[in-house]
């Protein structure tokens, strides 16, 4: 049995207004990516997406999404991502941009990268903390970043405590 090889694209959705990030849903990303690939690569692009395209993970608090597609045409999907300028969710249009962080062959490698990236982001947040309590929280979050055997996804959701201004 030939194994179906996939590529997982780990991306980050950048928005101006953090509160509108909370509306992020798998469906809206799915529609937006499908539309962008259809616009950029036409019927050929849409046909490629029918084969194996799915949004595997969406984190509404940090804006991290994980997209899966076939190894043979992940570049075509990747090249259409910069053309996405807004996401639509229940009639509301949110202007955004998608930034690809990592391309991995398995979900596990993407998770390992996400843990390292999240620690980096927390380190970057440290100078901006105003109170000692916030700083303590960030330091605790950094120390608790790790990859465990099960409950991986929940672990990452727990360590992402963004302090909004």
């Amino acid at each position: 049995m030939v194994r179906f090889k996939s590529r997982y694209l780990l991306c980050e959705v950048c928005v101006e207004d953090r509160s509108s990030l909370l509306l992020l849903e798998e469906r809206s990303i799915y529609q937006a990516v499908k539309a962008a690939v259809a616009r950029a690569h036409g019927d050929y692009g849409s046909a490629l997406l029918i084969l194996s395209f799915a949004v595997k993970y969406v984190n509404a608090h940090t804006g991290v999404i994980l997209i899966r597609c076939r190894k043979s045409h992940y570049r075509i999907l990747w090249s259409a991502l910069p053309f996405i300028s807004c996401l639509e969710n229940r009639g509301q249009k949110v202007p955004c941009s998608i930034n690809c962080l990592h391309v991995g062959g398995t979900i596990r490698t993407c998770q390992k990268f996400l843990v390292k990236y999240s620690t980096q982001q927390l380190h970057r947040m440290l100078p901006h903390c105003n109170t000692e309590a916030e700083r303590g929280e960030v330091r605790r979050a950094v120390l608790s970043c790790s990859l465990e055997k099960e409950q991986d996804v929940e672990e990452e959701e727990a360590e992402e405590e963004w302090d909004d201004e």
Binding site: C14, V15, E16, R39, A40, R75, W78, S79, L81, P82, F83, S85, P95, C96, S97, N99, C100, L101, H102, V103, F113, Y117, Q120, R124
Partner: protein, 274 residues
């Protein structure tokens, strides 16, 4: 993918009078991983007597420049001037041009394109992306420009905004790639808002769509941009070795002194001797 080796640069961020927008754009660029950005002042030569805009000093914008994602240094901000030229008399390298770190020209006619490639003292030649190219690229001036160290720039933000622009951008850039074979090209945003910026690896991927090969596309965002910045620096020096700098003290000093404050290693100094 957060690579520690290559430095990415975005050499075209449109200048807006709104300080907050400019700050946001530069912060987003630092977040995405760009080590250097250049603020672009466009000079339209339609008026009778065009006023050359004065570049704002960077300390006006930021007290503390944001740190680049994945590195420990703050982002570097340069100033750049683009002259939109329809007539050879529009481009006059005066002392005001020296205030900018980079100078670019956007030629609108074939004659001007030829002159810009061979003789003008510019660092970057912009390729029109918003309309059909009025002239074809000929191999002779393009190769002459590459030999001189002048790079061709393709802006990608119009392609993101509008579908018709996308066709023009891809068509014009494919035409350029046919003639230059992928050498001497840089890709940059013409961002006016922070959401129009894209990450460097995404842009390298876009470069493949625009006709570049994989290695050339990555070079277009990293090493070629670095060459442009270094070329811009040599414009202010004599033969690339000696630079004059104004010393802040009131005591009378000689006008020519060796590099002060900005250390350039010996290997680069040798390379800059034209």
């Amino acid at each position: 993918m957060v690579c520690r080796m290559a430095t990415f640069m975005d050499l075209n961020i449109n200048f807006t009078k709104d300080k907050k927008t400019l700050q946001n754009i530069i912060e987003t660029a630092a977040h995405l991983g760009y080590s250097t950005v250049a603020i672009n002042y466009t000079l339209e030569s339609q008026q009778k007597k065009p006023e050359i805009p004065k570049p704002t000093s960077i300390s006006d914008l930021f007290d503390k420049l944001p740190v680049v994602q994945g590195r420990s240094r703050p982002i570097r901000v340069l100033n750049r001037l683009t002259v939109v030229a329809t007539d050879p008399s529009h481009f006059r390298p005066t002392t005001e041009y020296k205030a900018f770190d980079l100078v670019a020209v956007l030629p609108k006619t074939e004659k001007l394109f030829h002159a810009a490639c061979m003789t003008f003292e510019v660092d970057i030649i912009c390729v029109t992306v918003t309309e059909k190219q009025p002239f074809h690229f000929k191999r002779a001036p393009v190769n002459g420009a590459i030999d001189r160290g002048v790079f061709f720039e393709i802006v990608y933000t119009p392609a993101i905004r509008d579908s018709t622009m996308r066709r023009y951008t891809i068509g014009n850039s494919l035409g350029l790639m046919e003639t230059c074979k992928g050498k001497g090209v840089i890709l940059s945003s013409g961002a006016e808002r922070p959401l129009e910026l894209r990450g460097p690896y995404d842009i390298a991927n876009l470069g493949i769509v625009f006709g570049l090969s994989e290695g050339d596309a990555k070079a277009a965002v990293s090493t070629n941009c670095r060459s442009v910045v270094i070329n811009g620096e040599t414009r202010t020096t004599a033969f690339g070795i000696i630079r004059t700098m104004k010393k802040p003290q009131p005591a009378p000093t000689s006008s020519e002194e060796k590099e002060d404050g900005r250390e350039i290693p010996a290997s680069k100094r040798v390379k800059m001797e034209h």
